[in-house]
């Protein structure tokens, strides 16, 4: 059961989108999110949607996969929609008791929901097409200027990539501990919530102990391989901005300009 967990799911592939420099992809995604909040009317949203659809098609990511991220958000979406419909002041459309539904309310709710859906699709497209390592590499590189104000960028990126590296190892270990405790008669499936929570203790304690031991050994092994807090560190695979990346940046600029112009005219 634990083997099915995927964090920051990634679909390996070799499309133009997959090959883009992760830094460019991160910047474009951030731009996309900002534009979603600047968009006002159908034309702006249409432009952003067009950008998303084109990217998804180039990346060979189907609509179904892209929308698979919606499920856990259904409640949030419904709550947002209802609140927006009920609490936006304006020209009343229907009124009963103390509640009135306004025209403005409906349009705000509609755009809010659209915004959330597009937001989720866009960020998922980033993680679907970028491997976690390239993602952390990209973030490290983008955040480098923060080193000047003493933000430990390299350390954070290192921690992130080690965490990613150890997720499968620790999941495997948890599986083993669960089996071992079951073999000793532990029961994880019956009883009320408190009982079940208590049953987790014999899993978590050995897991933590072993994780600390691993951390200690890993630190020694890293020291043995001359790890020096990232001073003068070089990279095997250096991130290079290629021609396709410039093209992507150009698309990003067009998108930015388009949305801003539409916004200016309230479209």
């Amino acid at each position: 059961m634990l083997k099915d967990i995927t964090l920051g799911q990634y679909f390996p592939g070799d499309t133009a989108i997959h090959r883009l420099d992760p830094r460019v992809k991160i910047v474009l995604t951030v731009e996309y999110i900002v534009l979603l909040f600047l968009a006002k009317w159908f034309f702006s949203y249409g432009l952003i949607l067009l950008f998303l659809v084109c990217s998804a098609i180039t990346a060979h990511i189907g609509a179904k996969t892209l929308m698979s991220g919606f499920k856990p958000l259904i409640i949030i979406i419904i709550v947002t929609a209802v609140l927006n419909i009920l609490y936006t002041p304006g020209e009343p459309l229907v009124s009963f008791w103390k509640i009135s539904i306004t025209k403005e309310g409906i349009s705000t709710a509609f755009f809010m929901v659209l915004r959330i859906l597009l937001l989720v699709c866009g960020t998922f497209l980033l993680t679907y097409t970028t491997s976690p390592i390239r993602l952390t590499d990209g973030m490290e590189s983008l955040l480098k200027p923060l080193k000047k104000i003493k933000v430990p960028v390299h350390e954070l990126a290192m921690m992130m990539s080690i965490a990613l590296r150890f997720i499968p190892t620790l999941i495997e270990e948890t599986d083993k501990i669960i089996s071992a405790q079951k073999a000793r008669g532990a029961d994880f499936t019956s009883g009320n919530i408190i009982r079940r929570a208590k049953a987790l203790v014999p899993i978590l304690v050995p897991l933590f102990v072993s994780a600390f031991r691993r951390a200690d050994e890993l630190a020694t092994a890293m020291e043995c391989r001359c790890y020096n807090n990232g001073e003068n560190r070089t990279k095997l695979n250096v991130l290079v901005v290629k021609r396709a990346d410039y093209a992507a940046i150009a698309v990003g600029v067009v998108l930015l300009a388009g949305t801003l112009i539409f916004r200016h005219y309230g479209l």
Partner: protein, 300 residues
Amino acid sequence: MEEAIIETRELRHSFSAGESEPTIEVLHGVDLKINRGSFVAIIGHNGSGKSTLAKHFNAIYLPDVGKVWVSGIDTSDESRTLEIRKTVGMVFQNPDNQIVANVVEEDVAFAPENLGVKSEEIRRRVDDALNVVEMYHMRTHSPHLLSGGQKQRIAIAGVIAMQPDCIVLDEPTAMLDPYGRKEIIKTVYTLNRQFGITVVLITHHMNEVTGADRVIVMDKGSVFLDGTPSEIFSHVEELRGVNLDVPAPVALMYELRRAGVDVPLDALEPERCAEVLAALMKNVKTDGTRPEGEHIESDH
């Protein structure tokens, strides 16, 4: 005289379990010289101090008393620790806990990246190291999908990519199945014989040390025996006295000798042992020794 790559003099090391606990001395004055290019095996049962000794070889531990030199550099000189670590690489028991990255080649590149080697040079070193351990075809895989032996070979490649003069392996086969163990031992011997890297192999599997140039037996924090494999394994009684067993062929020869059969004690490999037995069978005239020889040979 040959040049020593690692030298210890009067090396003592103590651990303390807590502030108020008494300290326990684990190494009681070890004097060793390990020659450049040699293959040295260190054996000893649990708690004999062999792993502690190994950690002194690349300045993870520093001596309480005495000195350790690596290529002539005193390990207690902290300004030169990196130089020492670059000279003596270390491979540990658990392959999972020494792999840093998500992709095989990224992990092998870890050490040269830390040393600030240029990208093209890293690429060359990574490819070379992966070829040496025969894992080049797996370079883009994720380490957690590999077998224990493969992971351990990646760990070895990660050390080779640093281009060390010496590799210390601290029980590299302890967590592996027999097949993985064989792969690792083969790799380690290749490193020494073909690439001239000094190897210090710490183990408690006796059959892994029969090909070494020199075997050091540790017991209770001191060097107990030191010599070539055939010299060491002729001391069957002493080895058993410190809870160590001899390789199966040696045990067989030893028992045969005790039974009054004239066989040499230095048949360390099963093949050599079989030859000796075959020769013996031809010459055997008395019936008394024959069944024993036949019975044990069928084991190999």
